[in-house]
C-alpha cells in the first residue's frame, strides 16, 4: 500500500493539555482524505505538525515512504506539502499576488518582478478555476476570494499534498461547489488532499476516506463509501446526533424591528446598503440570505449602532433608534451575537466572568455606587456557564484560553440571557462542530418560542433554511425578496441571491 503521508503515533502536548495523543493518519496517493473531529479534537494541531509549525513530542512522519523530520514550513514546502490554514495566513495590506509570491518571489535584477508574478498567478488561477484579482488588496476582497488566494499560495509553490483546514467554513454555497470542483481538478492532476471540515455532507460528497479523532485520540479510519452522515457523526461525538432542527410553526405577533429605506455607506463612502426595508416580528426568526459582501455586515452594524446611517430609519420596539449609540440600543432591548467573536464579541484578556457582563457591568448588581461587585459578576457567570455548557476550567479563566466554540457559547449565553426583544445573530455557528451547532440552533428556536424577534444573518443556506421562518434575500444591499422558509429551497434561494429575480422584478414594475 502506497501512502504519500504516514503520521504514526503522533503525540503533541501543550501546557496542560494533550492535543494529539498517539494519532495515526495515513493518506493514499491521489485521494481526498477527510479529517473529522469536534472542536478542539486536535485536527489543526495534527496538521500543523505535518506542516512543520509544531514539533511533535513523539511519533514519526513518513512522506512518500521516507521518514522525514519536518522542522519548519520550509521543509514541508520542499516536500511538496502545502497548507491552507483555518485562520487565514494573509497579510491584509498586501495584494493577492504579493501574498502568493511571498518567500519565493520572482525577481529581475534584484527587484520583484511583479508583472511576471501577476501573470503567473493569473495563469494558475485560470487553470484551476480559482477566480482572484491578482492586484486586489486582501483587505478589500471577500472571504471567498481570500480563501482562493490561500489555495493559490500552495499551488504556486507546486505543492502536491494539500491540507485544507476548514476551507468551506466561510464560503457561500456556490463557492463551496466551486471549491469541490477545484478539489476534483487537483486530484486529477495527481495531487493528494487532506480535508478538514465539520460538514459531513461535504465529506460524503468529495472524500474517499475519513479519519476521525476525538479529544486528541484517533478513533479510526473509514471508507466514505461505507459511511453515512449519522455513522460519521456518531463516530465523532460518541453518541447519536440529530440533524433535523425540530421546531413548530411560528406564531408571530407585534413588529419589533422595522427598517425603512435604510442607506449605509462603508468605510470608503460607497453605499453598500441601499434603500433597504425589513420587518421582524415577535416570535419569528427572519433569516437574511445572501452572498458574502452584499451588505450584511454593514446592515448589522447599522442596526446595532456600530456604524453611522446615511439615511432612512430604524425602529425597534416602537422607538426610533436611528441615531442611537450602541449602549442605548442595547438598553432598548437588542442582543447581538457578532460575526467576528474575537474582534467584537470578547475582550480576550478579560476573564469569562468579566466578559459575561460586558454590556451590563455598570448596572446593578454588578456595580453599586460606582464600585464593581465581582462576586455577583462571577456568580452570574457560573450560572451561565452551567446553563450554556461553556467548557472552561473556571469563570475566572481568561476568555483567550477557551476554544472558539466555547467562546461562541459564552457570547450566546450573554446575549440570550439579557432577554432582548430583538436578537441579532450574525453567523452564530461559524466554525463550530455539529454538536455545538445543534445546541445553538435549539437555543435560537427556544428564544423564538419565548416571543423574541430574531434576525439571523448567515452565509450558510442550509442553516438559514432550517432555522428561519421567513427568509429575506439580500442582494447588493437591498432586500430583493422575502419568502417563507418552508415554501422555498436551496435552488430558488441560490438564484435569488445571485440577483436574477431582482432583474425580473424590475422588468415587471
Amino acid at each position: 500500500m502506497e501512502y504519500v503521508i504516514e503520521m504514526n503515533n503522533i503525540r503533541k502536548e501543550f501546557p496542560g493539555i494533550v492535543a494529539n495523543d498517539n494519532i495515526t493518519l495515513q493518506v493514499k496517493q491521489g485521494e481526498i482524505h477527510a479529517l473529522l473531529g469536534e472542536n478542539g479534537a486536535g485536527k489543526s494541531t495534527l496538521m500543523n505538525v505535518l506542516f512543520g509549525l509544531y514539533q511533535p513530542e513523539r511519533g514519526e512522519i513518513k512522506v512518500r515512504g521516507e521518514k522525514v523530520n519536518i522542522t519548519d514550513p520550509n521543509v514541508a514546502n520542499d516536500l511538496g506539502i502545502g497548507m491552507v490554514h483555518q485562520h487565514f495566513m494573509l497579510v491584509q495590506n498586501f495584494s493577492v499576488t504579493e501574498n502568493i509570491i511571498l518567500g519565493s518571489e520572482p525577481t529581475s535584477r534584484g527587484s520583484i518582478n511583479l508583472r511576471k508574478a501577476e501573470k503567473d498567478v493569473q495563469e494558475i488561477s485560470d487553470r484551476y478555476g480559482l477566480r482572484v484579482d491578482p492586484r486586489a488588496k486582501i483587505e478589500d476582497i471577500s472571504v471567498g476570494m481570500q480563501q482562493r488566494a490561500e489555495i493559490l499560495k500552495t499551488l504556486y509553490r507546486g505543492a502536491d499534498i494539500l491540507i485544507f483546514d476548514e476551507p468551506t467554513g466561510a464560503l457561500t454555497p456556490p463557492e463551496i461547489k466551486e471549491l469541490i470542483q477545484i478539489m476534483h481538478n487537483l486530484i486529477k492532476e495527481g495531487k493528494s488532499i487532506i480535508l478538514i471540515t465539520h460538514k459531513l455532507k461535504e465529506i460524503l460528497e468529495v472524500c474517499d476516506r475519513c479519519t476521525v479523532i476525538r479529544r486528541g485520540v484517533g478513533i479510526g479510519t473509514v471508507d466514505v463509501a461505507d459511511s453515512t452522515e449519522n455513522s460519521l457523526a456518531e463516530m465523532m461525538v460518541g453518541r447519536e446526533v440529530s440533524f433535523k432542527v425540530e421546531k413548530t410553526p411560528a406564531s408571530p405577533k407585534e413588529t419589533v424591528l422595522s427598517v425603512k429605506n435604510l442607506v449605509v455607506e462603508d468605510s470608503r463612502k460607497v453605499s453598500v446598503v441601499n434603500n433597504l426595508n425589513l420587518d421582524v416580528r415577535e416570535g419569528e426568526i427572519v433569516g437574511i440570505a445572501g452572498v458574502d459582501g452584499n451588505g450584511q455586515t454593514e446592515l448589522v452594524e447599522a442596526l446595532t449602532g456600530l456604524r453611522k446611517i446615511k439615511s432612512g430609519s430604524i425602529n425597534i420596539t416602537g422607538k426610533d433608534t436611528t441615531k442611537f449609540k450602541p449602549r442605548k440600543i442595547t438598553e432598548v432591548g437588542v442582543g447581538h451575537i457578532p460575526q467576528d467573536r474575537h474582534k467584537h464579541g470578547l475582550v480576550l484578556d478579560f476573564t469569562i466572568g468579566e466578559n459575561m457582563v460586558l454590556q451590563t457591568y455598570y448596572q446593578k448588581p454588578y456595580t453599586k455606587t460606582g464600585i464593581l461587585n465581582y462576586q455577583s459578576m462571577y456568580e452570574k457567570a457560573k450560572v451561565l456557564i452551567e446553563e450554556f455548557d461553556v467548557r472552561t476550567p473556571s469563570e475566572k479563566t481568561p476568555a483567550r484560553a477557551l476554544s472558539g466554540g466555547n467562546q461562541q457559547k459564552a457570547i450566546i449565553a450573554r446575549e440570550v440571557d439579557r432577554s432582548p426583544a430583538l436578537l441579532i445573530a450574525a453567523q452564530p455557528t461559524r466554525g463550530l462542530d455539529v454538536g455545538a451547532i445543534e445546541f445553538i440552533h435549539k437555543k435560537l428556536i427556544e428564544e423564538r418560542d419565548k416571543g423574541r424577534a430574531i434576525l439571523l444573518v448567515s452565509l450558510e443556506l442550509e442553516e438559514v433554511l432550517n432555522v428561519s421562518d421567513r427568509i429575506a434575500v439580500i442582494y447588493e444591499g437591498e432586500i430583493v425578496s422575502v419568502v417563507e422558509a418552508d415554501k422555498t429551497n436551496e435552488q430558488e434561494l441560490g438564484l435569488l441571491m445571485a440577483g436574477s429575480v431582482k432583474e425580473a422584478g424590475e422588468t415587471t414594475s
Binding site: 446595532t304 456600530l306 449609540k325 450602541p326 449602549r327 442605548k328 440600543i329 442595547t330 438598553e331 447581538h336 457578532p338 474582534k343 467584537h344 464579541g345 470578547l346 475582550v347 480576550l348 484578556d349 478579560f350 468579566e354 460586558l358 454590556q359 457591568y361 455598570y362 454588578y366 456595580t367 460606582g370 464600585i371 464593581l372
Partner: protein, 353 residues
C-alpha cells in the same frame, strides 16, 4: 494548585534574578575599569539604607517616581503609551508652585488646592493628546513628545517673565502650601523626606482601586484590551481614551506638585528635562503596571539614584555605572521569558533525577 504556587513564586523570583544579574554585570564592569566591586556596592547600599538620612532621601526620590510610574501605567492599561508624563509633571510642578506662591489661605485649603492645581494642569496636558487621539486618531506618542517640549519652554518662559525671584527660580511657596515635614525630616537626619511620600503610597492604592474596583476602571481596561469589543458593548471608547490620558496626566501633575511643594518649595527654569517622567516609563514597565510593582520599582530606582552619589564619593565609581546597572536590570526584567525558561529547565531536570 502547585502550578499556581509556582507561578506566584516565579513572580518574585524573576525580578530578583534580574536585579542580581544587573548587579553582577555592574560588578564585572567595575572590575574591568579598575574598581573594587565590593567597595563599590558597599557604598551603594550605604547610600540607600546606610543611615536614616540616606533612607529618607531614597524615599524622597521615589515619591515623584511613583507618580510618574502610575501615570505611565494608567495610560498603558488603556492601551496608550504616554511618553508625555515628563511634560505633564513639569506643568504640574509649575502650577502647584504658582498656586503656592500666589495666594495665602490656611493650609487646610491651600495645600490641597495647590496639589489639585498641579493635577489639573497635568490633566490638561494629558487631555490634549487624548483628545487628538480620540478625535483625529493622531498617534499619542508623537503628540506627547511634542507636548513635553512645549511644557518645558512655556513654564521656563513663564518663570523667567513673571516669577523670577533669584537666579533661575521662583520665590519660595508660602508655608501653607508646603508638604515639607519637620517630623519626617528630623526623623531622617534632615533629609528632604516630606508628606508627599505618604500621598504617593496612597496614590498606588488609588490607582489599584480605580482600575480594579470601579466601573470606570472596568471600561478603561476593556478599551485598553479591545476597542472594538468595547464599542460593541456600548462603551464610549473616545471618551475613555481622553479620560485615561487626563487621569494619567493628573497623576503626573501631582508628581510634579510633590517635587514643587515637597522637595524644593519652588519651581525653577529647567535647562533640560527632569527625566522623572521618562524614568516613569521604566518604573511602570518594570512594575508590570501594577500598584505594588510600581512602588517597588520606584524604590529600586530612587535608591539606585540616591546610592550613586555615595558610590561616587566613597568608592570612586563613576555615577554612570549606576545608569548602566539600571539599564541592565530593566533589560533583564524585560527578558524574563528567558529567565523563566531557564528556571523551567532547571526545575524539570531536578524532577527527572
Amino acid at each position: 494548585m502547585m502550578s499556581m504556587l509556582k507561578g506566584r513564586a516565579f513572580g518574585i523570583t524573576i525580578p530578583i534574578i534580574a536585579i542580581l544579574f544587573g548587579f553582577l554585570a555592574g560588578a564585572v564592569i567595575m572590575l574591568f575599569s579598575g574598581n573594587n566591586p565590593i567597595t563599590g556596592y558597599t557604598a551603594l547600599v550605604n547610600g540607600i539604607v546606610g543611615d536614616t538620612y540616606q533612607f529618607g532621601e531614597t524615599l524622597q526620590r521615589m515619591t515623584p517616581l511613583i507618580f510618574s510610574g502610575i501615570a505611565v501605567a494608567f495610560a498603558f492599561r488603556t492601551g496608550l503609551l504616554n511618553i508625555g508624563v515628563e511634560g505633564q509633571l513639569i506643568v504640574g510642578w509649575f502650577t502647584s508652585v504658582y498656586v503656592g506662591l500666589a495666594i495665602d489661605p490656611p493650609m487646610i485649603i491651600h495645600l490641597p488646592l495647590a496639589i489639585l492645581a498641579g493635577a489639573v494642569a497635568g490633566a490638561l496636558w494629558g487631555f490634549v493628546p487624548g483628545l487628538l487621539k480620540a478625535r483625529f486618531q493622531v498617534h499619542e506618542v508623537i503628540v506627547t513628545i511634542m507636548m513635553n517640549y512645549i511644557a518645558m519652554h512655556v513654564t521656563n518662559s513663564l518663570i523667567r517673565t513673571y516669577l523670577l525671584d533669584s537666579g533661575q527660580r521662583t520665590g519660595f511657596i508660602n508655608s501653607s502650601a508646603s508638604l515639607e515635614s519637620e517630623f519626617l525630616s528630623e526623623l531622617t537626619q534632615f533629609s528632604r523626606l516630606h508628606w508627599g511620600f505618604l500621598i504617593a503610597a496612597a496614590a498606588c492604592v488609588l490607582m489599584w482601586f480605580i482600575l480594579w474596583k470601579t466601573k470606570k476602571g472596568f471600561e478603561l481596561r476593556s478599551v485598553g484590551f479591545n476597542k472594538n469589543a468595547s464599542l460593541y458593548a456600548g462603551m464610549n471608547v473616545d471618551q475613555n481614551i481622553v479620560l485615561s490620558m487626563s487621569v494619567s496626566g493628573a497623576f503626573a501633575g501631582i508628581g510634579g506638585a510633590m517635587v514643587g511643594l515637597g522637595t524644593y518649595g519652588y519651581a525653577n527654569i529647567l535647562p533640560t528635562f527632569t527625566n522623572i517622567g521618562f524614568d516613569g516609563i521604566a518604573v511602570a514597565l518594570l512594575g508590570a503596571s501594577s500598584s505594588i510593582g510600581i512602588f517597588l520599582a520606584a524604590f529600586l530606582f530612587g535608591g539606585l539614584q540616591q546610592g550613586a552619589n555615595m558610590m561616587q564619593s566613597q568608592a570612586g565609581v563613576a555615577p554612570e555605572l549606576v545608569e548602566i546597572i539600571i539599564a541592565l536590570i530593566i533589560l533583564f526584567v524585560a527578558s524574563s521569558y528567558i529567565i523563566r525558561w531557564a528556571l523551567d529547565r532547571l526545575q524539570s531536570r531536578k524532577e527527572e533525577k
